[in-house]
C-alpha cells in the first residue's frame, strides 16, 4: 500500500510549501461517493491506479512542492507572483511547471495542493489519464483557479516524460515544424509618430518581426466621438511609424463592448493588423460574433478560456481568426495542444498568450514548435532587455524567452529543457497576492479590461 501524505497548511513564508507528514485515514475518507450510486468506488491512491499496475511504468511521483515567487515591485507587477510546481519521482527525475494566476496566486497554490491525492503516487507517464483525472475527475470543471493548478502540474508531468524518454517535449509532440525556432512578438508602445518611427528602427535592428500595442483609453459600452477618434488615430500613427514591413497587433483587452469594437475594427481595416485581440469581453461568444461579421480585421481571443471545451463554441461559430490560450491557465501542454488541434481543423491559427513567468513561456514554445497552425508567441517582454530578464536568467540558468533574429531558440535538452535549483527560488520569497489592478471611468464606475 502506498503511504499517502496529508497536506499541511499553506506556509506563507519561505516560499516552498512542503507536504506535512501527518498520516491520514485515507481509505476511510477518500473517494466515497456521496450520492449513494451503486458504482465501483476507487479504493487505491491515486484513484484507479491499481488496475494499471501491470501495464504502467515503475516511475512514481513521490512528492509535490509548490513555490510562490514574489519579485520586486519595480521589476514585476505585484498582482502576479509566480507559482511554480515541482514534482519529484522515485527515480530522481524532477519536473517543473507553472501555475501563475494573476491576482490569485494563493488560490492557485492551494488548488495545486488540493490535487495532491490525484498526483502523488501516480505514474507520470500517464499524462493524459492524469489530465482527465484532474479536470473531469474534479467534478467542477473549468475555472481559472483549477485550470492554472492543472496547468502547473501538467507541465511538470510533461517535463518528467521528456526527461525519461530523453527528448525535448516538442519532439514528443511530433515537432519541430520549423527547426529555426519559434516566431515571437514583444510588447511595445508608441504614442507619437517619432516614437513609432524610433521603435520601428530598434525592432528591425533586433530582427524582431512583430509587436503588440494597447488601446490608448478604457472604453465604455457606447463611446464618444473623442475617444473613438483617439483610438483610431493611435493605431494609424503606429502603422505610419513602423512602416509596412513590421507586423503589429493591438490588444483591445476586452475594454470595448461589441458595439464600440465593431466601429474600431472596421475603421482600422486599411492598417492590416496582424490581429485585434479581445475586442470585447470573452464570455459571450455570439456577442463577439457581432463584431467579427462586420469587419475583415483578423480577431484573436482566448487567454482567459480554460480547457479545449472553453474554445469549442468560438471555433464552431467561426468567430475568430487566431486563438490565444495561456499554457499557465488552459490546462498545460495537454490542453494547449488539444486547442491547437481543434483550431487547425477549422483553419484557425495559434498565438499563445504568456504574461506570467518563464517556465510557462518555455513550455509554450514546445507546443508552438509542434503545431502546424502556429502564428506567433507572446511574452511580456520588450525589444530592449529589462531587469526582469536578468531575474529570469537567474532562475532558469539561461536567458529565457529572449528572441534571436525574431525567433525563440528551441530548447535542446530533454523535457522542457532547463533545471531550477530550489535554493535560487528562496531569493524571491512569496509575499502574498495583490489583486489585479482595477481601472475606472470618468464617472467612477468600473472599467472593463
Amino acid at each position: 500500500m502506498i503511504r499517502r501524505e496529508f497536506l499541511g497548511t499553506l506556509a506563507a513564508s519561505g516560499g516552498a510549501l512542503k507536504s506535512g507528514m501527518a498520516k491520514s485515514k485515507v481509505q476511510s475518507r477518500a473517494f466515497q461517493i456521496g450520492c449513494g450510486c451503486d458504482l465501483e468506488l476507487a479504493s487505491a491512491t491515486p484513484p484507479g491506479a491499481n488496475v494499471f499496475e501491470n501495464v504502467g511504468s515503475k516511475l512514481r511521483i513521490t512528492n509535490m512542492k509548490v513555490f510562490g515567487i514574489t519579485l520586486d515591485e519595480k521589476i514585476a507587477r505585484s498582482d502576479r507572483p509566480y507559482v511554480f510546481v515541482k514534482l519529484e519521482t522515485n527515480q530522481g527525475i524532477v519536473g517543473w511547471g507553472e501555475a501563475t494566476l494573476e491576482g490569485k496566486a494563493s488560490a492557485a497554490m492551494a488548488c495545486v495542493n488540493d490535487l495532491h491525492d490525484f498526483i502523488v503516487g501516480s505514474d507520470p507517464m500517464q499524462s493524459e489519464h492524469l489530465y482527465q483525472l484532474m479536470y473531469i475527475g474534479s467534478f467542477y470543471r473549468g475555472g481559472p483557479v483549477l485550470g492554472s493548478a492543472i496547468s502547473g502540474i501538467d507541465q511538470a508531468i510533461w517535463d518528467i516524460r521528456g526527461k525519461v524518454l530523453g527528448m525535448p517535449v516538442y519532439q514528443l509532440l511530433g515537432g519541430p515544424v520549423d527547426a529555426r525556432g519559434v516566431r515571437g512578438y514583444y510588447h511595445a508602445q508608441a504614442w507619437t509618430l517619432e516614437a513609432a518611427k524610433e521603435l520601428g528602427d530598434v525592432t528591425r535592428k533586433a530582427g524582431v518581426t512583430a509587436l503588440k500595442f494597447q488601446l490608448p483609453t478604457y472604453m465604455e459600452w457606447i463611446e464618444t466621438n473623442a475617444k473613438l477618434t483617439r483610438a483610431v488615430k493611435s493605431m494609424e500613427t503606429i502603422r505610419e511609424g513602423l512602416g509596412p514591413d513590421i507586423d503589429f497587433a493591438v490588444d483591445f483587452h476586452a475594454k470595448p463592448s461589441p458595439s464600440v469594437a465593431a466601429i474600431l475594427v472596421r475603421e482600422i481595416e486599411p492598417l492590416h493588423l496582424l490581429f485585434a485581440e479581445e475586442v470585447c469581453p470573452p464570455e459571450n461568444v455570439r456577442a463577439m460574433q457581432r463584431v467579427a461579421k462586420r469587419s475583415t480585421t483578423p480577431l484573436a481571443t482566448g487567454e482567459r478560456l480554460i480547457a479545449s471545451y472553453g474554445f469549442n463554441e468560438l471555433i464552431e461559430l467561426g468567430v475568430v481568426d487566431v486563438l490565444q490560450p495561456d499554457i499557465a491557465h488552459v490546462g498545460g501542454i495537454t490542453a494547449l495542444w488539444k486547442v491547437a488541434a481543434l483550431a487547425d481543423a477549422a483553419g484557425i491559427r495559434m498565438a499563445p498568450h504568456a504574461c506570467e513567468g518563464p517556465i510557462g513561456g518555455v513550455a509554450s514554445l514546445h507546443v508552438d514548435a509542434a503545431i502546424p497552425n502556429f502564428l506567433c508567441q507572446e511574452i511580456c517582454g520588450a525589444v530592449q532587455s529589462k531587469e526582469i530578464n536578468d531575474v529570469w536568467a537567474d532562475i532558469m540558468g539561461f536567458p529565457a524567452m529572449r528572441m534571436v533574429d525574431g525567433r525563440y531558440p528551441l530548447p535542446q535538452k530533454p523535457g522542457l529543457g532547463f533545471e531550477i535549483q530550489d535554493a535560487v527560488l528562496k531569493k524571491y520569497p512569496f509575499q502574498g497576492t495583490r489583486p489585479f489592478p482595477p481601472a475606472f471611468h470618468a464617472d467612477g464606475s468600473l472599467a472593463a479590461q
Binding site: 459600452w221 457606447i222 461589441p258 458595439s259 466601429i263 470585447c280 456577442a287 461579421k293 467612477g444
Partner: protein, 375 residues
C-alpha cells in the same frame, strides 16, 4: 371591472399582520399636465401605516387604471414590489409609478437614497443627454445652445422629416447638414444622438446609418417601428453605427429576444413605462451581452430623478436622456413640483442626491395646481 387574468399563484395573499409599519394605507394620484407643452404624466403617492410615504412617476394614465392600482396595493407591504410588478403588468404606466413610489417610500423609511437601497452607487455622477425639442433648424439650434449653457455635452435631436420625392442620398445630405449645424452650435467635444422616432423603414435606416457611421454619433435612436429580428438585422448587420431602441417596450422578454439576435447596442426602456426595478431586470439581461442601458425619458422631473437613482445602481448604464422643455413656464413648473430641483448638468454629468428616497420634497399643492385630475 372584470379581471382578464388570475392572480399569480406565485404570490401569497397580503400579509395578515396589518400592523406592520410598512403596510400601505393610502394611494393618491395626480394626472399632471404641463401648461405649455401639454406633456402628461402620473404622479402617485403611497402612505404607509407607520407614517412613511413615497412618490413615483409614470406615464399618462386614466382613472380606471388608478382604481385598479388602489385595489392591488392597499393592505400590501411597501416592499412587495414583485407582486405589484406582476399584478399591474397590464397597465405599465401605473405599475412604474406605483413601484417607484414603493421604492421612494422604502428609501425614506430606511433613510437612504434609492441608489443605495438598490446596491449603489456604481458611479458618482451620471452622464446625461439633453432631449432637444424643435420643429426647424432655428428652434433646434437655439435649444442646443440653451442646453449647452445648462451644462449638457450630449444632445438627442430629431431626424428631419423626409419629403417623399427626395432621393435617399438627398435625404442623407439634409440629415448631415443638420448634424453639422448643431455640432457648430454645441462646439468641440460634444456628442449627438440621432432620434429617428421610429419613422424609417429598416432598409432606409441601414442606408442612413452606413452613410453616417464615420461621424461617430453616439447612436441612431429608434430607427424603425418594426421590432423584429428580420427587420432590425437589416440595420445591425450592415452598419457599425450603434442602434438604440425600446422606448415602447415594457417587457423584459422582448429585449432579451432582441439582444439574443444582436439587434440592439443600447437599451432604451422608457421611464414612463417601466419601474426602476423593471429596468434593472432588463439591464441584468443586457449585461451578459455587453450592451449598455440608457433609459428614454419624456415625462416629468420625478421620472428624471428616478432615472438618476437607477443609473447610479447599474453597472452597464451609459447615459440618461433628460427632457429640456422649450417653454420657460414648463421648466418653472417642473422645478416647482420638486421644490426647486433643476434638470441641468455639469460638464455633461448630473449629480447624485445623497438624501433619503428620491432626494427631493414634493410640493403637493403645485402638483394639484398642474393636474387635470387628482384621485
Amino acid at each position: 371591472m372584470k379581471k382578464l387574468w388570475r392572480d399569480s399563484v406565485a404570490f401569497a395573499p397580503a400579509a395578515t399582520n396589518g400592523d406592520h409599519p410598512l403596510v400601505i394605507t393610502a394611494l393618491r394620484a395626480w394626472r399632471v399636465r404641463e401648461p405649455v407643452s401639454s406633456r402628461r404624466y402620473t404622479v402617485i403617492k403611497l402612505e404607509a401605516k407607520g407614517g412613511a410615504f413615497g412618490y413615483g412617476e409614470g406615464g399618462p394614465s386614466v382613472a380606471s387604471d388608478i382604481a385598479e392600482a388602489k385595489a392591488a396595493v392597499l393592505g400590501r407591504t411597501a416592499s412587495d414590489a414583485e407582486f405589484i410588478r406582476s399584478r399591474l403588468c397590464g397597465s405599465p404606466n401605473v405599475e412604474a409609478a406605483v413601484n417607484n413610489a414603493m421604492l421612494d417610500l422604502l428609501g425614506r423609511s430606511t433613510s437612504v437614497p434609492i441608489y443605495q437601497f438598490l446596491g449603489g452607487p456604481t458611479r458618482y455622477k451620471v452622464r446625461v443627454v439633453a432631449h432637444i425639442e424643435g420643429q426647424d433648424e432655428q428652434q433646434l439650434s437655439s435649444a442646443v445652445r440653451q442646453a449647452r449653457n445648462r451644462g449638457f455635452l450630449a444632445f438627442a435631436f430629431p431626424i428631419p422629416s423626409r419629403d417623399a420625392m427626395w432621393r435617399m442620398q438627398a435625404y442623407v445630405d439634409v440629415i448631415r447638414k443638420r448634424i453639422d449645424l448643431l455640432k457648430g452650435v454645441a462646439g468641440p467635444d460634444t456628442d449627438f444622438v440621432l432620434d429617428a422616432g421610429a419613422t424609417l423603414t429598416p432598409g432606409d435606416a441601414s442606408f442612413i446609418a452606413t452613410a453616417l457611421e464615420r461621424i461617430h454619433l453616439l447612436w441612431l435612436d429608434e430607427p424603425t417601428n418594426v421590432l423584429t429580428y428580420d427587420a432590425l438585422s437589416r440595420i445591425t448587420d450592415e452598419t457599425v453605427m450603434p442602434v438604440g431602441l425600446g422606448r415602447n417596450i415594457h417587457d423584459v422578454t422582448t429585449f432579451q429576444n432582441l439582444l439574443r439576435w444582436g439587434c440592439v447596442d443600447i437599451l432604451r426602456p422608457s421611464m414612463g413605462l417601466n419601474s426602476i426595478r423593471q429596468i434593472r431586470r432588463m439591464a441584468a439581461v443586457a449585461e451578459t451581452h455587453y450592451v449598455a442601458v440608457g433609459p428614454h425619458h419624456a415625462g416629468g422631473p420625478l421620472g428624471t430623478l428616478a432615472a438618476i437613482h437607477l443609473a447610479a445602481s447599474l453597472p452597464n448604464f451609459f447615459a440618461q436622456q433628460v427632457p429640456q422643455p422649450s417653454a420657460e413656464r414648463d421648466r418653472a413648473m417642473r422645478a416647482e413640483i420638486t421644490s426647486g430641483y433643476q434638470e441641468t448638468a455639469k460638464d455633461g454629468f448630473a449629480e447624485l442626491i445623497n438624501k433619503p428616497g428620491l432626494g427631493v420634497d414634493v410640493n403637493e399643492q403645485a402638483l394639484a395646481k398642474y393636474s387635470e385630475e387628482v384621485l
